[in-house]
Amino acid sequence: MLRRLLPALILVLGSCSGETSDKKALIWARSSDSSTLDPAEIEWGEDAKVIQSLYDTLVTYKGDTVELEGKLAERWTFSPDGKTLTFELRKGVRFHDGSAFDSSAVVFTFERFLKPGHPNRPKIPCPYEANFADIDRVAADGPHRVVFTLKRPSVVILYNLTLFAANIVSPDAVKKHGAQFPVNPVGTGPYSLARWDRDVRIVLDRNESYWGPKPAIERVIVVPVRSPQTAIEKLRKGEVHVVDHPTLSDVKTLAEDPATKVDTEISLTVSYLGFNLKRHPYSDPNFRRAVSLALDRNTLNALAYHGMAEPIANLVPPVLWKDICPTPPYEYDLEKAKESLAKVKLESKEIELLHMTFARPYAPEPLRAAEFVKDQLRKIGLEVKLTGYDKSAYDQKYKEKNHPMYLLGWIADIPDPDNFYYPLLHGDSKDSMNASQFDDPVFNDSVTRSQSELDPAKRKELLAKAYERYREVLPTIPLVAVKQVIALSRRVDYNMHPIEYRFYAASWAK
């Protein structure tokens, strides 16, 4: 070994130059590497980021809006009863492996994770299965038409077809690679996978035969840099071009630095305070109202979000609710809070609050948020005991049946109020994210009916009714809607989207 290495060492030291890769690459830093590149297996944002450039869905969001437009589908029509959805597919599209995209690929993509016993089922069951539960059947009608038969009319099905699992995969590649498909992804997207060195980098090269507008940047290298501080340091030194997880406390200096800049965009991410509705005193509406009245969300925004959030009074962020019904702003009034608390039979002034000890998009500084709640509630005479947990333990703790109050949040998957009310508050969701165990017949009924109500005016009424009920009972307390923040080198322009990460929307600054 040594004998082989020594001459090489001499050669290398002699010829040391700054040789790097021949393509000019955009280097994008994020908090963690992908765990899979199989769309059907994807569960969290870090995995989703990469596949949104590798694959295409049938429909997508137009520009940086949340309006829908066709992608692999040129257009679509609903049958009058709303139970059949027909897509006309784009012609002449090819997968990265050269195979043709047609209706059989669409059918294959959906059957693969929806049909029990499918021979090419992904190894991890599709975490987003529930978002496709309304689909009864997907069938090809000729090579360029696909018909989705629904179990009931669905208002949100088109939105759900923008989700990760709905990215169309190459059936040939799935069959060829089998269990190794997650590391050999083949889609039709604007970038294709050049190499994946696990935990080090994912290299994406521009798909030169892409059917749509080609990305401006030839090569994107996505690298995990766990610590945001380190990532920002690398950004300042020019080692990376984008940091998508900057610490909020650094935003000001990054914006002032001549080499870097900061962009923000609305997001569909909210934070809230949840209660165990089966346990006293949390089950008492007067108690919850008192807590809500005692929390000054503007202060919370300044303390725990560095002003990069917006106080909310409804669990659905204003951008999605503005056309539905007016919502009065949150109320902060310590005297009223004390009055409300006086109506509660308290055995002890001590209550418990569960909080995370790790940052998430809706809680970039979870300890500060928890301390804020503690301080505010002390003002109305409550002593809060804080109990913090790390990631894996927290997910379990707040779902335990005897939990107290808890700080949590939600990153919506689709831009529709239903994606807040149903998973977080509907009786059906008690075993997943509705950890408050809220199960109110009026609320449930309004939400369920709104899911199939195709008449927009009637749907608004149903949602408004659900909101009224929510406000009355206050099963959870909405805190703030969070903005997305991204730090960039001034050499790079990137058009942020409220929901998706699109590497193909980046370009070199002029």
Partner: protein, 336 residues
């Protein structure tokens, strides 16, 4: 000698079994649900239950352990739950060389620095060099490694890379897994220098404790030897002071030093968690840390087993080195 080695090797499975059992039970007693870690908190209950059933998380813990041990006996360390399509053995094969590289570099710094300080302070006992060296050594064992790491980052961030193993745009095919070696094999000078630069700070931070301990033990072992008769004889014979220390004294002082270095190397392999975290070094330490966070039972089990295995082997190698250093040491024979 052979009998001794065989006996030591026979002991290895017992150690590994104990380690695997302890890790298995510990991991399952801390809160956290692997099914939620795999499909996420948003997944409906039935999906989470399906995962639990399919992966056997719902079975009694001893049954789960039994299945795990049977797999281990077939040489299968299991698979990553979340990183679909990846085997634990592949992950470890990728991470372990990085950690060995880091620990090796740290050990090299520690040996050179530690021996130098130790020899100087033994030779100049009671003089200012001695006090300075021993103060440095004391600081080395006392300073918390993560704090030192942060200080190093603050001091050198403008000249040296502060995180990772290699710049991302430098693409290197992995042949041996050791980045420096791979860079040499690929004759990629840029990658070699870059990797070397990345190695400096974490290796320096990691080297402080073994450096300090080597310095102290070298000093005390040397002092003891320097008092002995044969050293006086050597001096009387007219051997140069350097020759007396390096040739006559150091070799006889070597056994405690080698023991310590061996043990330290074992610790470095497993104990680099803090250093690797501070410097975002892609190795066994960060691997274990993320595996714990993601409730990756089999990754943690596999990593700890491999480290225990290496630790035992390093110790055995140290024992065998004794015989090489000191011909009076012979194993498995009664002393005449």
């Amino acid at each position: 000698m052979t009998a001794y080695v065989v006996r030591r090797l026979l002991f290895l499975p017992v150690v590994l079994w104990a380690v695997s059992f302890i890790v298995f039970v510990l991991m399952r007693s801390v809160p956290g649900d692997p099914a939620t870690a795999i499909v996420g908190e948003k997944a409906p209950l039935e999906v989470r239950q399906r995962v639990r059933r399919e992966r056997g998380f719902d079975r009694p813990i001893l049954v789960q352990y039994g299945i795990y041990v049977v797999k281990l006996l077939h040489g299968d360390l299991g698979e990553s739950f979340k990183h679909s399509s990846e085997k634990v053995s592949d992950q470890i094969a990728r991470k372990l060389p990085h950690t060995i590289e880091l620990a090796g570099a740290a050990m090299a710094i520690a040996l050179v620095g530690g021996l130098m300080l130790g020899i100087l302070s033994a030779v100049y006992k009671g003089r200012w060099i001695d006090y300075v060296s021993m103060t440095v050594a004391l600081a080395g064992v006392s300073v918390p490694i993560f704090w030192l790491g942060l200080l190093l980052i603050l001091a050198f961030e403008s000249v040296l890379p502060i995180s990772g193993n290699l710049n991302p745009e430098l693409i290197l095919d992995s042949r041996t897994g050791f980045i420096l070696v791979d860079a040499l094999l690929a004759r990629n000078g840029a990658a070699f220098w870059n990797a070397l630069q990345h190695l400096v700070l974490p290796a320096a931070a990691l080297s402080t404790i073994p450096l300090a301990m080597t310095a102290r033990i070298t000093r005390s072992a040397l002092l003891e030897v320097l008092e002995s008769d044969y050293i006086r004889t050597a001096r009387a014979k007219g051997a140069s002071p350097a020759r007396v220390v390096l040739r006559h004294a150091l070799r006889n002082a070597a056994i405690p030093i080698v023991t310590l270095v061996g043990l330290e190397f074992g610790y470095l392999l497993g104990g680099a968690v803090l250093t690797e975290t501070v410097f975002d070094w892609d190795g066994m330490g960060t691997y274990i840390l993320t595996s714990v966070r993601e409730t990756e039972y089999e990754s943690i089990g596999g990593a700890v087993l491999v480290l225990a295995f290496m630790f035992v082997l390093v110790n055995l190698a140290v024992d065998l080195l004794y015989a090489f250093i000191d011909p009076r040491v012979r194993y498995g024979q009664s002393e005449a």
